[in-house]
Subunit: 319 residues, 2 copies
Amino acid sequence: MATVSRVVNNNPNVKPATRKKVYEAIERLGYRPNAVARGLASKKTTTVGVVIPDISNAIFAEVARGIEDIANMYHYNIILCNADKKKDKEIRVINTLLEKQVDGLLFMGGAVTDEHLQAFKTANVPIVLCATSDDHNQIPSVDINHEEAAYDAVMKLTSQGHKRIAMISGTLQDPSNGYARFQGYKRALEASGIPYDDTLVRIGNYRYESGAEAMKYFIELDERPTAVFSATDEMAIGAIHCIQDSGLQVPGDISVISVDNSRMASMVRPQLTAVAQPMYDIGAVSMRLLTKLMKKENVEHAKVVLPHEIVIRQSVGGI
Amino acid sequence: MATVSRVVNNNPNVKPATRKKVYEAIERLGYRPNAVARGLASKKTTTVGVVIPDISNAIFAEVARGIEDIANMYHYNIILCNADKKKDKEIRVINTLLEKQVDGLLFMGGAVTDEHLQAFKTANVPIVLCATSDDHNQIPSVDINHEEAAYDAVMKLTSQGHKRIAMISGTLQDPSNGYARFQGYKRALEASGIPYDDTLVRIGNYRYESGAEAMKYFIELDERPTAVFSATDEMAIGAIHCIQDSGLQVPGDISVISVDNSRMASMVRPQLTAVAQPMYDIGAVSMRLLTKLMKKENVEHAKVVLPHEIVIRQSVGGI
DNA sequence: CTGTTAGCGCTTTCAT
DNA sequence: ATGAAAGCGCTAACAG
């Protein structure tokens, strides 16, 4: 009994001959270790829970890749739970994961409210925020500086001579993709001496259609913008198509830039210029951080901010 | 102890007053039931494992939605495991899920080889294939008829007068998205009296780039096709852009049609005409089937084939 | 190096 | 309606 356990757990204290016999018996009997019993006895499940805000968002898929690769490397299983962009569901999923006794938790994207913090507090396993962060930096996190990324995107536009720059934003309740990127937009305007005009800002829901709708509104303005900054790629593509469907050109009549640089950025004509966030790395680094936390190694930087960069394609032109 | 268990499990044999006291104590102590211990004692985990072949594929995201909605309805947790399109990883993930004592397993997409069958056989929980099926229909499954869907797509092309019709296929090792759709293509050609010509078939890997590469090859042919059938949307969009980048028009010079009808089909200009598979329903129906199997209800149809339909947009024209 | 003995935190009879 | 007791399948000391 105990020897079988040792064999299965690669404990060196087993005579090779015995080990072999055990393996043979395992094979013959079709024995499959019961991870549940194992988890109960050892108080470890070697699995980490990942809550993914929206499974149909390509960004998160890429982040998940990074998470997985590192998790495999350290022999952790990962279980993904989709939360459908609903706060309630996020909280529920976090609790389910905790009940399942995961050894650690990765919370991806989305707002981190007091309710989240509350749920995190009751956990007695490490948690790291991935592609998001909380207001007071109480929880370890890895992310880019969204405000700065947006700033860089808009500065690219102003450097090309654009003065009338609209923004398709996410909801301001969303601290990363929403509020921070909006702040970056405002700061860039200010830095360029362009007065902020709130008729030039529309809130979208990150979907293609909402980008197109926002753009439609801008085009119908008396004095339409010469450039648009979209908080995300998908809305930017909606905007591009709306512009083209109106008989206008990108970037001839209107330039478009966004933050994200998902795979979709190359899947549109003209190809989308965007500030890239290193999605795979965000996933990989956050998982690595989590492994350290789970092993109780102490970490210097519990808040890591990864660099972003602008990738120039074809959707931005001069004025 | 036992009473707490009854309260937590909604067992009616508890005096309301006691129940109330227990709830208060739970609240006060911040007690969180241990799902692992629960699972061990009850031999049920109320969770089903879902293996998802490729998390970055939009099709599977939509199927997952359907799965989730029904799972929630029946109070099952679901844990998603990505397999990265690798057979080895699929097998590994299936075994991990089984070790974790899931109450049922949903295997999504991808080929079902003998090795898979082998792994399934050792499971003593129900399994259903979702958006795929095995050659001998040994395992319950829900899917569309891929061969028929492809046939319909190609017939649409021939009905518009096209005679020189190329195909961008998936690998023939993939029974659903690959082989079956290729067979449908051949059958439609035959039904239309068009000889099969294998210079008009290229194998892609389902990615945008591979669609573009295949199209590049077709365009450079001495006698280029007037229409292209792509096994999936993403490759079709790659093809459309390749055509446009070559200075040709869709559908003026070359028509494009595909099978899938993911959200992306509307996110390209011209919008993509495609045979739609009911992704959400495939997920929902397969999860529903699994719940029946898990409750040991006996089911009449262990192999369900859902209907598909063609949705006309702008990428197909007459000759 | 291997076997024995306690639990891990719950659910489930079985009494009461 | 509640408590007592056994045990789910494993791991983790502890002997030997």
